[in-house]
């Protein structure tokens, strides 16, 4: 089975989804990411979905679960690069992804993570 690679970049993990996601790959990614956050003590996760041509309710839920799981393990998740047609379709489908932090692209997502890290340094950790 194909697996989605998880790359470590300093305090953050970067996931770029570049394959057509079937349900098993999506579930495997959730498990792999939780394990990697624990192993690396990552403070943030950047999930790049710019290559995804479709997000249905299953993949949408997977993204929400990844974000929630990472949060519990002490890492913020920013979902970046959603194609406009995917965003339009997702909202019409009924998934607003209101609880998921998003950014237009990897650069802005990285800036969000870095900024939230900086604001936490010097203040008490959550």
């Amino acid at each position: 089975m194909e697996r989605i690679p998880i790359l470590k970049m300093g305090k953050f993990l970067l996931i770029t989804i570049q394959i057509e996601m079937d349900d098993r790959v999506a579930l495997q990614l959730q498990e792999d990411l939780a394990a990697q956050i624990e192993k690396t003590a990552a403070r943030g996760v950047l999930l790049d979905i710019s290559a995804l041509e479709m997000v249905d309710s299953f993949i949408g839920r997977m993204i929400g679960n990844i974000s929630a799981t990472a949060q519990i393990l002490g890492a913020r998740t920013v979902v970046v690069g959603m194609q406009p047609a995917v965003a339009i379709t997702l909202v019409e489908l009924g998934l607003s992804m209101a609880r998921v932090k998003t950014a237009l692209n990897v650069e802005r997502g990285m800036a969000m993570l870095t900024a939230s890290e900086a604001s936490e340094d010097g203040s008490d950790r959550e």
């Binding site: 057509e20 996601m21 079937d22 349900d23 098993r24 041509e53 479709m54 997000v55 249905d56 309710s57 299953f58 839920r61 194609q83 047609a85 995917v86 339009i88 379709t89 019409e92 489908l93 009924g94 998934l95």
Partner: protein, 134 residues
């Protein structure tokens, strides 16, 4: 409504959902759907084929290019021979599920297409026919 060149794909495993999405993407591109229309019909196909697998134990996806009053559309028919749906009104409600899903599949897919027909009954399986016009 004239239909030409019906094609079909069996739905027996989760991998078939991916194949269904790819086939419907190609069909939508071939008749010149824009990117938003493509994404909507592909997403509807993904929801409906997953439902057929999860709740109907598998089935078939058929698709046709249809024409009416000079416009073209893509019609999908998803058939399963599972236990059927007892209460269709309930099944069409947002957030209702008998399984572990979000309960988004049927009502969500309906919002992504222009025409939506469902027929089902206990022991009779479920057939969903949806059309998106260009």
């Amino acid at each position: 409504m004239a239909a030409t060149g019906s094609r079909s794909l069996p739905l027996t495993s989760e991998q078939d959902i991916v194949l269904a999405r790819q086939a419907i993407r190609r069909a939508a591109q071939q008749i010149g759907f824009g990117i938003v229309d493509q994404t909507k019909i592909v997403t509807a196909a993904s929801e409906l084929t997953r439902n057929a697998l999860l709740y109907g134990g598998g089935g078939t996806l058929e698709w046709d290019v249809v024409a009416e009053n000079g416009r073209q559309g893509l019609r999908l028919t998803v058939i399963d021979h599972g236990p059927g749906i007892e209460d269709l009104t309930l099944a069409m409600k947002d957030g209702y599920t008998t399984g572990t899903g979000l309960g988004m599949g049927l009502p969500g897919a309906k919002r992504l297409v222009n025409e939506f027909k469902i027929s089902s009954g206990p022991g009779a399986g479920t057939t969903v026919v949806v059309t998106r016009w260009k």
